[in-house]
């Protein structure tokens, strides 16, 4: 049985996944890389380069290197590389062949068939071009499926009840949202909308500009003017963005990033608060919500008709994106499956379905309940106490670490009680109290304002949560360990199904039926051989009835049929 792999042929990155031991997995290349840059080029020596090496030579050979070929799929574009003309299909085929090789090396067998994903908005020409690319690469394209469909498969939604879901996909360079309808295991994209020029790179750019402007104000040096400083700045900005997904502050430190007057060394050493980043980001996220509304109205649905919202693409890790989407659609989005990998995993699942291989739901350890602390909040000038402030929302993949900043109610308050709750009620005390402690000796704010305390949750795979309170000024910390309720796998339905199967196999009567049917089969062969086809027919009829009774679990009927079949066989013997 040859495997059918799943391929996410992306604009900036591509991935290949396969189902092994019933589990879909991303296949890493020989360097341990899971994401292959979607870049193809030729070296000056005429050597074909795909992925990272092609990206590495881009500056040297811009005319012989192609990026983002996906944007040209389905067009008549011709690309000239190393003196030869290539179609977009042929360029994509280089990437696909590389992924095929990677999969073959890992699986230890030839890979001839693949499921390839395309954006929902791809037209027929682009889909055909993708199919052609697969064939040029030596792959039989078992199916072309939509990216949101693949995401729904990765979440195992095809095994659940009929439903309508939104798939929000915010990647490195493109954004799209699709409304998907699942009906009796069939997945259909009802509407799709997006912006092919919006993504995580734009968010990095915002941070770069912010940091560069701040540095210029402070030191009078523009980091954007020096290539070397600039590339360090870009890297630092991306790292800060990632940090801010889990923590309220990111410390950006780049030592010796520039020189002033040829002698004085300058360091970039600033702190970026999550709320600063969010203020910059808000308009961009807002524009994606407009696309969500467009897609919903195209599908003829309202937000409340959606059963689920799935997040795909690395940029959906940003808390503001999740928060704004949750507020806009009135429900918490699903985040359990790795957002960069969901599409490729879904394609691999589709491949396994086609190959007739057994598959289980994607195994993800998730927090079964939200975890948070009690906090007070101001609403219309009123102090509301006993509010529940969630740090780790339900269904977050674990292990994970989250921290948030809190303030004392009064400037002179030097202690705070941290009560850790588990549950989803807005009123803290209605949730289950897991533990509490008093954090004392919080150092005063130099400006006499309310004192600041960071609360951090480290949730490990065994469900143990280390809760720490950190005095932001002195960095002194205290904490407790609590145990969250048992974790759960993504799909419990799977387990229940196996249990039913096991129970039925265990029945004694099943074994007796088996024995009898086997015997009758042998007898039928003997009768046929002896030229007594009519008698064999009699046996076949009763045996058939018995088989049916077993399948419908009608054991009373089965017992009666066993009796008569036994009689019949006995009478025909000898």
């Amino acid at each position: 049985m040859t495997p059918v792999v799943g391929i996410d042929l992306g604009t900036t990155f591509s991935l290949v996944a396969s189902v092994e031991h019933s589990q879909p997995r991303i296949v890493a290349d020989e360097h341990g890389e899971r994401l292959v840059p979607s870049v193809v080029g030729f070296s000056p020596q005429g050597e074909l380069l795909v992925g990272t090496p092609a990206r590495n030579q881009y500056v040297l050979e811009p005319d012989n290197t192609v990026k983002s070929i996906k944007r040209k799929m389905g067009t008549d574009a011709r690309l000239s590389l190393a003196g030869r003309e290539y179609s977009p299909q042929e360029i994509s085929a280089f990437i696909l062949r590389r992924l095929k090789d990677t999969a073959e090396r890992r699986l230890g067998q030839t890979v001839e068939r693949a499921v390839i994903t395309v954006p929902a908005y791809f037209g027929d020409a682009a889909r055909q071009a993708t199919r052609d690319a697969g064939e040029i690469a030596g792959l039989e394209v078992a199916r072309i499926i939509n990216e949101p469909t693949a995401a729904a498969l990765a979440y195992g939604l095809d095994r659940e009840a009929d439903q309508k879901v939104a798939v929000y996909d915010l990647g490195g360079g493109t954004f799209d949202v699709s409304i998907v309808e699942l009906s009796q295991g069939v997945v259909e994209v009802r509407a799709s909308h997006g912006n092919t020029q919006l993504g995580g790179d734009d968010f990095d750019e915002l941070i770069v500009q912010h940091l560069a402007q701040g540095f210029e104000r402070q030191h009078g040096v523009d980091l954007r003017k020096d290539r070397r400083s600039f590339s360090r700045l870009v890297r630092a900005a991306e790292a800060a963005k990632i940090t801010l997904s889990d923590q309220p502050f990111a410390h950006v430190a780049e030592e010796f990033i520039a020189r002033k007057n040829l002698v004085k060394q300058l360091h970039l050493d600033v702190e970026l608060a999550r709320h600063q980043f969010e203020d910059m980001l808000r308009p961009l996220v807002q524009s994606t919500l407009e696309s969500v509304d467009r897609a919903l109205s195209d599908a003829g649905l309202r937000a409340r008709d959606l059963h689920k919202v799935l997040l795909v693409g690395g940029s959906t890790r940003i808390p503001l994106v999740r928060r704004m989407l949750a507020e806009h659609l009135g429900q918490e989005p699903q985040t359990a499956v790795h957002p960069d990998e969901a599409v490729a995993l879904g394609a691999a699942i589709q491949g396994a379905i086609i190959a007739g291989e057994p598959i289980e739901a994607v195994l993800v350890d998730v927090a079964p309940h939200s975890l948070g602390i009690e906090a007070a909040s101001l609403m219309l000038g009123q102090m509301l106490t006993d509010r529940y402030s969630v740090l780790i929302p339900r269904n977050t993949a674990i292990p994970c670490t989250r921290s948030e900043a809190y303030y004392t109610i009064a400037p002179k308050q030097d202690r705070a009680r941290v009560r850790v709750y588990q549950g989803d009620q807005a009123v803290a005390s209605r949730n289950e109290l897991l533990g509490e402690f008093l954090f004392e000796g919080i150092s005063p704010d130099p400006e006499g304002l309310n004192r600041e305390v960071l609360v951090r949750f480290d949730y490990d795979v065994d469900g143990i949560v280390q809760v720490s309170a950190i005095d932001r000024r002195s960095q002194r910390s205290e904490g407790i360990k609590v145990t969250a309720l048992s974790r759960q796998r993504l799909s419990a339905a799977e387990k229940a199904h196996s249990q039913v199967k096991l129970a039925s196999i265990d029945r004694r009567v099943e074994r007796e039926i088996d024995a009898l049917l086997r015997r009758s089969e042998r007898l039928m062969v003997e009768l046929e051989a002896a030229g007594q086809a009519a008698r064999a027919e009699d046996v076949l009829i009763v045996a058939g009835d018995l088989e049916r009774a077993r399948q419908t679990h009608d054991y009373a009927q089965a017992r009666a049929l066993m009796e008569s079949l036994g009689e019949l066989i006995y009478s025909l013997q000898d």
């Binding site: 031991h21 000056p44 380069l49």
Partner: protein, 259 residues
């Protein structure tokens, strides 16, 4: 299998036994009047026992093949478990290696910072030394003071030049110590300057016109790369030489073809 002899031919044994018992009972009470009737009963009894025997053998046969199946399945499971255990061990070792390399990769910026600080210290010493030892007239002309401003008053290392030098040497030793840790784990800097550009180990960030070296030679390193054997942890970011007279396209192609 051990109970097979017991079931092997019970039909004759058992019926013979019953028959014998029945004959004994009947013989004492009545003579041969209802003999044929009794014979019928016995025949029916024999038939019943025969059917029972048949059911028993059928079931036994079924059990036998079922057992065989079970042992096959068990064998298969055992084999699979063995395979998976091997796979698991392999994966476990791989994960340990992976975690180690990940940690070392995260330490690379520390090595960068150390290297940058040493370079900055040397530059500082050199520039101060130059300022002290060059004739004032020339110093006034270049660098022009109005453009770069007066030297920072806090920078006054000339008197302590040798001391600062020794301090820098200390930093160099720390850097060496860190690189030795990398080396122990098989991680080495990627050779760059003077090497021909390799897209597998170098990331080109710029080109520079340079005729003293061959085209595509790395002439500067902006970020040191590191590799563990063939596995590149971080590509070296490099500036690559371009000769001022670009070769004719035809010759260029000719050269690549012969290679």
């Amino acid at each position: 299998m051990r109970f097979l002899p017991f079931w092997s031919s019970p039909r004759t044994d058992r019926s013979a036994c019953r028959q014998h018992a029945g004959v004994a009972d009947q013989a004492s009470s009545e003579p041969a009047a209802d003999f044929s009737e009794k014979l019928d009963t016995l025949v029916a009894e024999v038939a019943r026992l025969g059917r029972e025997h048949f059911r028993a053998t059928t079931l036994l046969e079924g059990f036998g093949s079922h057992l065989e199946e079970i042992s096959d399945v068990q064998q298969e499971h055992g084999d699979r478990q063995q395979r998976e255990l091997g796979e698991l061990r392999r994966v476990q070792n791989g994960l340990a290696d992976e975690a180690r390399l990940q940690l070392l990769t995260e330490l690379l910026p520390v090595a960068d910072g150390l290297r940058a600080s040493i370079r900055a210290g040397r530059d500082l010493l050199a520039s101060v030394h130059k300022a002290e030892h060059e004739p004032p007239a020339r110093r006034a002309a270049w660098p022009p003071r109005w453009l770069f401003g007066p030297p920072d008053p806090s920078v006054r290392v000339t008197d302590h030049g040798p001391a600062v030098d020794a301090w820098l040497d200390g930093l160099v030793l720390i850097e060496r110590r860190l690189l030795a840790v990398f080396e122990r784990h098989g991680v080495r800097p990627v050779p760059a300057i003077g090497e021909p550009f390799s897209p597998y180990r170098h990331l080109a960030v710029a080109t520079r016109i340079e005729d003293a070296v061959a085209e595509d030679t790395v002439v500067a390193e902006e970020l040191t790369g590191y590799a563990a054997g063939d596995r590149v942890l971080r590509h070296a970011e490099v500036v690559v030489a371009r000769n001022s007279r670009l070769p004719e396209p035809d010759i260029y192609k000719e050269a690549s073809r012969t290679k």
